[in-house]
Symmetry: C2
Subunit: 571 residues, 2 copies
Amino acid sequence: MAPSSPATTEIRFVLDTVARIRELARHDSFSDASDDVVDAVLEGAGEFAAGVWGPLNGIGDTVGARWTEHGVVMPEGYASAYQAYVEGGWGTIGVPVVYGGQGLPFVLQTAVLELLGTANTGFALCPTLTVGAIEALVHHGSAEQQSLYLSHLATGAWTGTMNLTEPQAGSDVGALRAQALPRGDGTWSIKGTKIFISFGDHDMAENIVHLVLARTPNAPAGTRGISLFLVPKFRLDANGKPAEPNDVKAVSIEHKLGLHASPTCVLSFGDHDDCVGELIGPENGGMRAMFTMMNNARLNVGLQGVQIGEAATRKAVSYALERVQSARAGALDRTPVRIADHPDVRRMLMRMAAQTQAARALVYYAAAQVDLVKIGDDEARDRLELLTPLAKAHATDLGNEIASIGVQVHGGMGYVEETGAAQFFRDARITPIYEGTNGIQAADLVGRKLSLSGGKAFAALIDNLRATAKSAPLKQLIDCCENVGRRLAAADADDRLAASYPFLTMLSVAVCGWLMEKQHSAAADDEFGQAKKATTTFYLDQIVPEAIGLAAAASASADQLYAIDPALLLA
Amino acid sequence: MAPSSPATTEIRFVLDTVARIRELARHDSFSDASDDVVDAVLEGAGEFAAGVWGPLNGIGDTVGARWTEHGVVMPEGYASAYQAYVEGGWGTIGVPVVYGGQGLPFVLQTAVLELLGTANTGFALCPTLTVGAIEALVHHGSAEQQSLYLSHLATGAWTGTMNLTEPQAGSDVGALRAQALPRGDGTWSIKGTKIFISFGDHDMAENIVHLVLARTPNAPAGTRGISLFLVPKFRLDANGKPAEPNDVKAVSIEHKLGLHASPTCVLSFGDHDDCVGELIGPENGGMRAMFTMMNNARLNVGLQGVQIGEAATRKAVSYALERVQSARAGALDRTPVRIADHPDVRRMLMRMAAQTQAARALVYYAAAQVDLVKIGDDEARDRLELLTPLAKAHATDLGNEIASIGVQVHGGMGYVEETGAAQFFRDARITPIYEGTNGIQAADLVGRKLSLSGGKAFAALIDNLRATAKSAPLKQLIDCCENVGRRLAAADADDRLAASYPFLTMLSVAVCGWLMEKQHSAAADDEFGQAKKATTTFYLDQIVPEAIGLAAAASASADQLYAIDPALLLA
């Protein structure tokens, strides 16, 4: 099997056992998601991703997106590969039928996005952002906005962006200064500079739909005074076709550690006071709309951890099966063996595979809640809220860990760029940062999510985990999580935040362990099932206990952190 | 304090409390290492490193070493900065007086190398390799070789390289094929290709002394048939001056993830059958000589973890003290604060500082054993052997962890190359790979070092740790290490190796915890002492318990890894 063959067997298994897509398909809303359809989507997307997007991954990294005075130029082949994506309908999977989509489950769209991103993570960020724009318009757009924009976004013919960050307003969105002034005709004049705008400009689509947070005149300070605007790159003519350019320009792109196929733009709006935008939702309702965009975007960034984990694992396993070096230690036969047969290399491969599967289980389980919410499962709404920070933060942490091990498996060759293992390592590093840093995810977990529905959401999750957990370390970890979680819910802000990150990791591993154990039980005795039993056993026996070791850090008070002025660390 | 101010206060404290340099100085061999001299060396090296080498770190990364047909060209400024290093005598610190050195303790040389490498890790690799060549000649060179080469290597006027790896012989040194044929005049004709040769060529020194492993005719297969040769870039004339070029050429340099200031060369020896080398030590005695070079080199690679950790920490702390973003959570005052005041950012800074200090303590403690061996402390010989794999592997793992957190502290700016945080992240990634991968260090630990002197070396270390350990988690970790270590010593090769990496980490943290606790006890009540108490408390309370969580993995059998063919992970 080539390293680029997509993990469709594994994905199908996770859709069945973790996301329970067959149960979703029993509901009217998702009756199209039959076994055959799901298989066809996975197979088709896998082939398309590996065959069309995968081969462009290298040039995306080495040449990358380039800024020119006339706009951002993607590397050769990207525009046509993007067109093929649009024509294949791969963007429409999860979009409601009424807006021109296929109305299939969000978790199936997740699977398609995983396959695209495993082939080419930077490229797949473009449709990921479009999904956010679609969500914002579905939930907050006017009927006219929906009719003008949604079908084009659904196919991907037009792409979407999210414009939040400004130089002085990174994680603190409320500090943003971009302005929106009424033009008198119901539209708004947008003025300001946004930074870190992924795919803020490119040459692959007819239009780009910028969703921009800005302040209207006399808006309240902070997050309560923020509104969301739709700013097309090209204004629409009377027929709804992209026509004259709007007053928005990519003034530069960042020189980044990785993800070079994704242009990270500084966008300047209204340099000539002629940037026309439309308000989405009510004035000062921007934060709510933003969270609509961001929540699923957070799951999709978690999914990037899975994408990179999968790609790095396949590459490392393939290399370790081919590279022959040294005889087995302690073996009488002194013939050199493939390095995959050396115990510590095998440990690394097993860890990479187990962590990738754990990240996938976590993200797909969260994604399935999106679908359950759609079919009226109220408990799923809280569950989704609770799981979102875990899926975003822990899956991206794992993507980084896995990519780093992947470099290690390749030895000295791993450090040579041409090998390709280092690209995953570089690409992965942004994922714990953007879409809300992982620290902010941890703060969200202990700040808002632990106390969701008066703490019932957390208690219900713990109950669920405990109900089926069989492995002794997993049971112990669940107990630890419950104890720590209860204590944190009652702690003051500093103590809660000081412990937030180790607690997020512990709870994530508990959920992953629970989902891995479910998969272990469901595994058949075929080759796939044997491998699944091996990776899940490894996870439960070796990785779950590590998380128990975090209990001390998750129980420590903030006093330890505030004992000194951090300036003393420079002494 | 600027981020580039060197950590001389901390280094001096570690020299006193961990390396006990004052006790060393009581011995005749090191009587020159008075308090004044040590202070002067630290201050001078710190100023030189930060003032002369530090400013070249950026250009080393962005421009990097370049290959040309006429040899490798270093970035502008490197040659003169290197000359300043030679003239300052910074290379001579630890070299015996009889060979033109200052005969000061190895651990003080370690401190100088730390300061140089914190300012510019890639650059400092050059003198690091020269140290290896010096060690090989001191221990295995003939009197004539010593007199011809050593004084020039001691000053750094000539630099050294280590030529082990060939394409088919990476970690398996015994598989190398480079040949040495007798020329009839006592010299040898060397022929072969070596890869991954750091500073294999450059334009900073009058000569380069390549130490090359090769096989003589009819040599036994494997490692028993390897000999070490000295191959100068320029042959010496009758006066011992570099004269006509030898037949050795850098045919390319690698395009690497990081460490761009260090040219990683493919060296071709004997393309014209005219590469003259001299045998060092006895024929077929190459492995022993190589281990002489490599053992201290391993400590010095561990030291690179400290260098990068220190540089990344200073940069992150400085940034977090300046960057203002968001009010404190839970605070009535809604004024935005410096991000260092947010609990999770402070946790990251504290972790970076604590892990850097732990890595430093481990490496300096090991380095001090080199000096103790020199003054006849037999127990130190075993201790050094036992600690070397820990210092190399764990300190480099920590360098990577710290550099990654450093990127995170910078948020989105951390991903932008111009910020400089990403360079540490890229530079660090080679350190767990070269000079024996960390997996090989773990194999060395469980394979040779646990059973050193019939297991007495390990037992003595455990006894030492236990004798002073006060913290409850530390005591528990020491017990775990003892139990696991005893079990592994009796286990078969596969089980031992399967558990080797988690065990190496556990044992390293135990040693670090013990050394951090010692420092805690020795800390005064001044500002430095308060900071030291804070970082050591954090380490003992939060990081030591994490290592206890590795006990399960360190106790697992190899069966879990061999349950399936790893090819199934590609299913």
